[in-house]
């Protein structure tokens, strides 16, 4: 079954590559979804069926929907794609790519020099995960809960429509400038 692993891996890589090179946001999102599904496959093959399920339900399901909502909300279509095409030039991406390649190469050297043999992935059942989560990592779960709570409140707050969001210092400056303006006008 190694072949399944390699196929899933290849799909993930190719889909990811497509994500970062697409001009149209919707296309990119779809590729990302493919990539996430491939990830889920990988997780499953590594014996982490719980993780694979979460990947599909939450990532590919919930989070991606959020993205799509936003893309739809902002009505990012052809114009954005045109813009992206203009922005994505060779001289823009070649440098960072090389940098990342160097990083990867270093990573490669380090990993290969460690010399681990092949193994058969152990199956870690959802039950084990749950026990671990609510025993040893209980505090982490609490923190994660708080984080999500904060995120909900934050998102609700930030997402409200306001005409102008400025820091209070900047606000004062604006007021001062306005006063100056008025003085000049007078």
């Amino acid at each position: 079954m190694e072949i399944a692993f390699y196929i899933a891996g290849t799909v993930a890589v190719v889909a990811t590559l497509m994500v970062i090179t697409r001009h149209n946001p919707v296309h990119a999102l779809l590729y990302l979804n493919v990539s996430l599904l491939a990830h889920a496959m990988l997780f499953y093959l590594l014996g982490a069926s719980f993780a694979a399920l979460l990947e599909i339900i939450i990532y590919a399901g919930a989070i991606m929907v959020l993205f799509i909502f936003v893309v739809m909300l902002l009505n990012l279509g052809k114009e954005t794609a045109e813009q992206e095409r203009k922005w994505l030039k060779v001289k823009v991406w070649v440098g960072p790519t090389l940098l990342a390649a160097v990083l990867f190469a270093e990573f490669l050297v380090l990993v290969l020099s460690s010399g681990q043999g092949t193994y058969s992935p152990a199956v870690v059942s959802p039950r084990q995960v749950a026990v671990s989560l609510f025993r040893e990592y209980l505090i982490g779960v609490e923190l994660a809960a708080m984080l999500l709570m904060a995120a909900v409140v934050g998102a609700a707050h930030i997402g409200r429509h306001k005409r102008l969001v400025l820091h209070r210092f900047l606000k004062e400056e604006v007021e001062k400038e306005e006063e100056k303006h008025e003085a000049v006008m007078l």
Partner: protein
Amino acid sequence: MKPSVSIEVVVLLAGLLFALGIVGVIIRKNIIFMLLSVEIMLNASGLAFVAAGSRWGQPDGQVMFVFILAMAAAEVSIGLALILQIYHQHKSLDIDNLKEMNG
């Protein structure tokens, strides 16, 4: 009926995906794409965790993945809310338009 793969290959795969994520973050000017690339990077690290967990037969790897997931959810919700606001105020998603926080 699990495959027997070398741990290096899995970790290298995670590294490759991570590197791609980095490239995505750097080369794109559109914030949405940057956010997508960040998701890729998160996933890549999640993959590494899960691989490690399965290598040693411990649940910790998946636990970490759950936390990553929670964090990603929080991040995406905040990030998308910010994107909405930025778009409303600047009428653009170009990250270079937001260089206000320079020293």
